[in-house]
């Protein structure tokens, strides 16, 4: 079969690009743990306050500089309301909602997830720079949606 010279060039370019994208994705999955969430945690959204770990929301130190932030989102706020961690801390967020669908976004980081009632969602971030990090809801959840926020202080 005859293939035009220019056609060979663009086919090579396209296939090489696909190979590079997939290789980078594959390498990052293992080197940086960037993978789709695994596991599926559910709970009764009407019993969030009685269900572990949400019966004890807050910042728990799970290792040297590693914290687990157990949080609930509700109309219109987050529990615990304010958190403080030292610079360089890695925080694993475990979040659920006790009423409607909320958002959980920390601008300037890669954390941006939905908080769905009945589901437990996870995200992690290492806070290398000191400052005040805003946590905000980006899913319209009611009349005071724009007031729904909390802060993480890193110092």
């Amino acid at each position: 079969m005859h293939v035009h010279r220019l056609e060979k060039i663009w086919l090579t370019f396209g296939i090489a690009m696909l190979a590079v994208f997939l290789t980078v994705l594959g390498l990052m999955t293992f080197s940086m743990g960037i993978a789709p969430p695994t596991g599926h945690a559910q709970l009764d959204p009407t019993k969030v306050n009685e269900t572990a770990p949400f019966d004890n929301p807050g910042l728990h130190e799970v290792g040297d500089g590693v914290y687990e932030a157990v949080m609930t989102a509700f109309t219109f706020g987050y529990n615990p309301p304010n958190m403080e961690v030292p610079v360089g801390s890695t925080v694993h967020f475990t979040v659920t909602s006790s009423d409607v669908v909320h958002g959980f976004e920390i601008p300037g980081t890669n954390i941006n997830m939905m908080v769905v009632p009945g589901e437990v969602n996870h995200a992690s971030h290492t806070f290398d720079k000191p400052g005040e990090y805003l946590v905000l809801c980006n899913e319209y959840c009611g009349i005071a949606h724009e007031m729904m926020m909390t802060k993480i202080i890193v110092k």
Partner: protein, 56 residues
């Protein structure tokens, strides 16, 4: 009819070298469009990747 039959046809495969078809279409425009689209996809991918790495 007789004169037509004697005229050698340009597209006769028997008289053409197999790797150089004489009536090959010009694909320069197609090539430019494909490369522009490919460049756009590559730039978008790199943009998203760099943003992700900076925010991580």
């Amino acid at each position: 009819m007789a004169t037509e039959a004697k005229t050698p046809s340009k597209t006769n495969p028997a008289t053409e070298p197999a790797n150089e078809p004489a009536n090959e279409p010009s694909l320069k425009g197609t090539f430019a469009s494909v490369m522009l689209l490919g460049g756009f996809i590559l730039a978008s991918w790199l943009g998203a990747f760099i943003l992700f790495m900076v925010k991580n």
